[in-house]
Symmetry: C2
Subunit: 144 residues, 2 copies
DNA sequence: CTAAGTGCAAATCTTTTGCAACTTA
DNA sequence: TAAGTTGCAAAAGATTTGCACTTAG
């Protein structure tokens, strides 16, 4: 996973540095949890040799460009990111309690595009969909 | 429309001021076009007695609280807002070219909640959906 | 009269940028 | 060695806040 990202970076003409490796590692360790730039910074401060925030932002941008990182903006937060190696169109459902997120690929928006064109006259080109909820373990906890 | 918003503000214990009236007017004039706080500020500067940006932000917050204004965050922009007096669940499709927006009420997310629970174990509680596209007149223009 | 709203200036938070020094390929 | 990357400091953009003054009810 980390390797395939490095490979893709190289393929796109970027250089691999100790910093970019560490940043990829931070996201890989976070698994399904969303991370803000600040959170990446904190994690690295605790576990690795410190990296400047601006470097983290610059690497995030690169990783978004090559399509291995996806940005998720929720209200009242800094933008958050997670690794996303698949090319398939998908969305995320995010746990409001613990920040875990899960991919779902059955995009419901595709089904309504025709209706949308008919009803509004708009021609849709893209969409942003984020679903918030409780993940399995947080649902369980809230029942206790 | 403006009146019903003032009524609602009063009902919730807020005072009506010259400033709040002007801000409501700005949104009313904009009709379906999204406005950022800055845009509201500019419009008022051009057409009415100037109001401080912080006052605009404070009024926007109040109007969101009482549910007459909806926030729409798109990437690389300041947050944008539009009046939304209906209580009915709905989403917006926004024209990337001119900023016009239209409501659509057939929310496709409702249909997939059960699938979502089954497949991800998450219990959804809310969602954010924004569709971007070209409105009718911008679609026409781009064909020319 | 008094609680709420306002303008102003300053602060905050997130993200971006310029630049000289440093690394990777 | 050339081009890309980094750290640092500073800037930028959006939004929020403290406070003394004003105003609506």
């Amino acid at each position: 996973m980390q390797d395939s990202i490095e490979y893709k970076l190289k393929a796109e003409g970027y250089k691999i540095t100790a910093q970019s490796k560490t940043i990829i590692k931070a996201f890989a360790k976070a698994k399904n949890h969303l991370l803000s730039a600040e959170k990446v910074y904190e994690w690295i401060n605790e576990h690795e040799k410190s990296i400047d925030l601006s470097t983290i932002y610059r690497n995030i941008e690169i990783m978004m460009n090559i399509g291995v990182l996806k940005k998720i903006s929720l209200d009242n937060h800094a933008d958050q990111y997670k690794l996303s190696v698949t090319n398939e169109h998908h969305h995320h459902i995010v746990c409001v309690s613990c920040g875990r997120s899960e991919i779902f690929k059955d995009c419901p928006v595709a089904h309504i595009e025709k209706t949308l064109i008919n009803k509004t006259g708009f021609t849709p080109i893209e969409h942003k969909l984020e679903i918030l909820g409780y993940c399995q373990s947080c649902t369980r906890k809230s029942r206790d």
